[in-house]
Amino acid sequence: MKALQIVSYGEIKDSLVFNELSKPAVQSNDVLIEVKAAAINPIDKSIILGNLQGMLPIPLPSTSAYDVSGIVLEKGDGVSNFEIGDLVYSRVPQEQMGTLAEYVAVDSAAVSKKPGNISFEEAASIPLAGLTAFQSLEAAGIKKDDRVLIHAGSGGVGSLAIQYAKAQGAFVYTTTSTTNLAWVKALGADRVIDYKTEDYMSIAKDVDIVFDTLGQNYSLESFEVVKQGGIVISVVGPLDEASAKMLGMSDYKLPEALAKASSDRKADYKFILMHPNGAHLNEIKSLIEDEKIKPIIDKVYPFSESVEAFTHLATGRAKGKIVVKVS
């Protein structure tokens, strides 16, 4: 089968190569998926650039990407929840990374039937970003009438987080730049803040939840806009102690400034590491079928132009998700 592989760390163009591989073997709990579409995420780019070598040691060459939609072609003896021919989508587990290929074997616990009202390309755009939005806002305990600030509402994660927060009945502030204001508003956000012309900190004040998808100064600033007793959830800021432990860093301490801001404000800080989960994807499937959430796609690339898809991702200006149509 054809697969797009990372052969070295470094510049995107130099690191990605199409290779001919054999079909992956199916373990007892796996399904073999014939890939129809795959989506790429910032983490794929970080892996290629070699930025995650310490945290995620990946043997080279490795096939790239985690998001997939397709058709179940084979299944292991231990799989009872899927049948051959099922249309599915998944964010595949770390050990099974490699959805930019004609076939991928995936632990069935990470797989869900795909929503029936959207295409394969749309379905592939959902898993990683959707699970991140879902798991982050659930960890924040989001509920009706909460006031939530979601950064980068035009990003892959942000665009789904806005819709999930609205489906939970929250009031949503979000940030993006001028060109994206209209379509982000149409996702349901109550107040779209143009970070080029407005100061978000003077608009979103005393919110219950900040969803930090930007990191850097934004993580610390979150404590100036979150209310006392509120919570800051980050997917890019500094690790918190619990997630550092999970990654094997048991003596890790939260950066001092962040720890102080959090305790001064009496607001929690949590770092979320998205984890693959078929049951969560199934819940997202229902939300999509009920049109509470719709996929937002920036561009679909043919398989042969996967490298261009990565170059587009690397600009950091994606409007929603970047998808590759594999077959």
Partner: protein, 228 residues
């Protein structure tokens, strides 16, 4: 079915040493025989034709009653189709997934309807359709080939099968014409009138995909109706 007095359970019930409520309980268990649904269907068939005991026996031999969970799939697109289903309770849907992965609903089936993939059955091709339960459902599963051929063994069946086929053709022709001629709003109105019980058991996207419109259009049509 009548209670067979030679059956040991019946003797147990009839014997008067048992307390009354145990007898009553056993009786209700026995009366709810595992063929309740098929018996009801046979009663319906008997209003249309005279059924020989042999034909009745044959129907028992080619069928199985099933209680299905919501979401359970009876026929899967791309696979071999062996069975056809009579719905005793619940709501099922047949749909075809296009090459982009989107589902298009062909038909819904509720109590007293038949559902299967008739393209596959009559052409020996693999299934074009998927048939799934939208609610918990009860069906009688028939071996499709055997049921199809029943009239060669029991010619009395011929008019009954023809009648079913005619009804099916009529409803399909109506569906095609409605699709060609009526506005989306009129199609939705008609759907509500014809199948109010289906609307209660299905999700928006099932209805939109049956009417051949987007979910947004369906919501618009509904909002329009509320305003009227």
């Amino acid at each position: 079915m009548l209670i067979d007095p030679s059956n040991s359970h019946c003797q147990f019930i009839i014997g008067d040493s048992e307390p009354f409520f145990i007898r009553l309980y056993s009786l209700t268990v026995l009366l709810k025989s595992p063929h309740q649904e098929l018996e009801d269907l046979i009663k319906k068939i008997k209003t249309r034709l005279i059924l020989s005991p042999e034909a009745e026996e044959f129907l028992y031999s080619i069928s199985k009653e099933k209680t299905l969970r919501k979401g359970e799939v009876l026929i899967r697109q791309g696979q071999v189709v062996k069975n056809t289903f009579f719905v005793s309770a619940g709501c099922l849907r047949s749909y075809c997934t296009d090459k982009n992965g989107k589902e298009n609903t062909l038909l819904f089936a509720i109590k007293d309807w038949w559902i299967s993939d008739y393209i596959a059955i009559h052409t020996d091709e693999l299934a074009t359709l998927t048939v799934e339960c939208l609610t918990e459902s009860k069906v009688i599963e028939f071996n499709a080939k055997e049921l199809d051929g029943i009239h060669s063994l029991f010619p009395e069946f011929e008019p009954y099968q023809r009648h079913n086929l005619e009804r099916h053709v009529v409803s399909l022709h109506r569906r095609i014409l409605n699709q060609l001629q009526l506005s989306a709003a009129d199609r939705y109105d008609l759907f509500l009138k014809q199948y109010p019980e289906i609307e209660q058991n299905t999700r928006n996207f099932h209805i939109a995909s049956y009417l051949g419109i987007t979910q947004q259009s369906l919501s618009r049509i509904r909002a329009e109706k509320v305003r009227k």
